[in-house]
Structure formats: structure tokens, C-alpha cells
């Protein structure tokens, strides 16, 4: 059995996504580089990835959020950048994954709008907005189902 020696032990990696008409992924990466102080920044098409000690990464993340607070989104990543198990340079082509990100980015503008609107809300209006029902998918009507079955014949 081959011994496994991990890299970047004790570090955290965070994804920074931006979807804004005013802030580009390059702006994000440049702002991160400015205060990087030895932390690894990887510029990507959607924003950047930051790898370093938890304190350093938090410091940079806090700084980046200020740039466009409603349109910058951040989440943890398990693998460090360039990990041979995930990096497409080693896999020889496009890598699987990012499908979840792609899906969520398709309606992230609604979340940005929601963040902007709820920011200025007082307790009462927030409670009122939170009390609104989100529409659920309508269950299939029994008559429609029966009709579908009869069509099958």
C-alpha cells in the first residue's frame, strides 16, 4: 500500500464567485493579490480560489465581500488548487463537477436582489417577508394521471 502524504495540511481553501455588472473576476483576483501576503490565490473565470491558513483566508474574504457585498458569494472547497485528483491538467481534459455551481449561478441574481432588499428591512418587515410562502410544485392531478395512462394504451 502506498503511503499517502497530503499537501497543504492545516490550510483552508475557499471559492469566491462573482456575478456582477460592476465587478469582474479580475477585479476580485487583483484585490485579493493586493493583500495576499503569501496566501495562494488562483484566478479563475468565476472569481478566484484562496488557499492559506484559516485566519489569512478569512481576512481576505472579509476584504473581498466589501467590494460588491450583494454579488460576491463564497464557499468552502475540500481540495486545494492543482490537486492531481481533481486538476484537469492531470486528468487530461475537462473535469467533472461545477455542475452544481453552474445550476445555482443561473438564478443567483434573485439571491442578490433578495440580499439587497432585506438589508434595509426592519424587524417587522423582515418577519413579514419571511412569512410569505414560496410556491411548491403542484402535485400531479389524479384525473390528468388517469388520462395519461389511458393514452398509453
Amino acid at each position: 500500500m502506498k503511503p499517502y502524504v497530503p499537501e497543504y495540511v492545516g490550510t483552508v481553501t475557499k471559492y469566491v464567485f462573482v456575478d456582477s455588472p460592476n465587478t469582474t473576476p479580475q477585479d476580485i483576483a487583483t484585490a485579493a493579490y493586493e493583500i495576499a501576503q503569501g496566501v495562494m490565490i488562483k484566478e479563475t473565470c468565476f472569481g478566484c480560489q484562496i488557499t492559506g491558513s484559516p485566519e489569512d483566508v478569512d481576512r481576505i474574504v472579509e476584504h473581498l465581500r466589501i467590494l460588491d457585498p450583494y454579488r460576491i458569494f463564497i464557499k468552502d472547497r475540500g481540495f486545494p488548487p492543482g490537486d492531481s485528483r481533481r486538476c484537469r491538467a492531470d486528468l487530461g481534459g475537462a473535469r467533472p463537477g461545477y455542475l452544481g455551481h453552474e445550476y445555482e449561478m443561473s438564478f443567483i441574481r434573485y439571491i442578490s436582489h433578495g440580499l439587497e432588499e432585506t438589508e434595509g428591512m426592519n424587524k417587522t418587515s423582515l418577519k413579514k417577508a419571511a412569512g410569505e410562502a414560496l410556491p411548491l410544485e403542484e402535485p400531479l392531478d389524479a384525473d390528468v394521471l388517469e388520462k395519461l395512462f389511458s393514452e398509453e394504451k
Binding site: 499517502y4 475540500g78 490537486d83 445555482e104 449561478m105 443567483i108 410556491p135
Partner: protein, 148 residues
């Protein structure tokens, strides 16, 4: 600060909102990071080791496929740690690369069974629903602070 389990466990939106409003999101990245950064003699081909399906026995029976048990080795400890949960009902992205549907069903079942504050909602499809979605999560997380 409460530990909030997010489902889908890879969700960018939930992870960001929970962290933004001052709590700790518990998602699959945390477990995977732990696996990736732990030295040993067992070389994980992707992020799993051969021991993981055995660890998963704590949450899923032996006749359950090893894939589910392996995934539960990642999610189980997080669910046990969770002090609250936000669940998206039937998210499209949870089918496919995130993992098998049976693991997701077991995961949501465990979260519903656990006696913790829980918020269940759907992804927004309009701007107005976006406001409701964010307001619901913000209110839920604020109420958690009060309970603490």
C-alpha cells in the same frame, strides 16, 4: 454561532448565506478537506478510502450499497455535529455528481428525525421569491441566535 447543516451539502448559496449571517455552514467540503489532509497508508483514489464504507455502517446497514455507506462516512459526522439545518426540497443539482439519490434521501431523513431547528424551502424562480428566500433564511438564522 451555530453549526448549520446545509442540504444540498455542496450549495454555494446556502453556504454563503449561513456564513454571511454569522453561523458556520456544515457542507461536504469540510469532510472532504479532512480526508484530503489526513496522512496515512491508504491512498485515497478520489477522496474515499476503503475504510469509509465500514465507518458508514454506523448510519446505514450492511446490505445498503457501499456507495451510500461511503458517502455517509462523510455526511454522518456532520449531521451528528449539526445544531440546525437548512434543507432545499428536491434540488435539481443534488441528482448526479453530488451523489446518489438514496444517500440524499437518507440524509434528509436523518435531518428531519433529529431534534434541531430546521428550515425547509425551495429555490427561488423570480426576484420576489428571491426576497422571500433570503428573508426566510435571515429570519431563521436570527432566531437561532436568540435561542443560543
Amino acid at each position: 454561532m451555530a453549526k448549520v447543516f446545509i442540504y444540498p451539502a455542496t450549495s454555494l448559496i446556502l453556504s454563503d448565506l449561513v456564513a454571511r449571517y454569522g453561523h458556520e455552514p456544515l457542507g461536504s467540503a469540510l469532510s472532504i478537506r479532512e480526508h484530503v489532509q489526513t496522512p496515512g497508508f491508504d491512498s485515497p483514489p478520489i477522496q474515499m478510502t476503503s475504510e469509509d464504507p465500514q465507518k458508514g455502517l454506523k448510519w446505514a446497514a450492511v446490505e445498503v450499497p457501499s456507495g451510500i455507506r461511503g458517502r455517509m462516512a462523510l455526511y454522518g459526522p456532520l449531521v451528528e455535529e449539526a445544531e440546525a439545518a437548512i434543507i432545499i426540497d428536491e434540488p435539481d443539482l443534488a441528482f448526479g455528481c453530488m451523489g446518489c439519490a438514496r444517500t440524499n434521501e437518507l440524509l434528509v431523513f436523518m435531518l428531519r428525525e433529529k431534534d434541531i431547528p430546521r428550515l425547509e424551502l425551495r429555490y427561488p424562480a423570480t426576484k420576489e421569491e428571491g426576497v422571500t428566500f433570503v428573508a426566510k433564511i435571515k429570519q431563521f438564522l436570527k432566531d437561532l441566535e436568540v435561542k443560543e
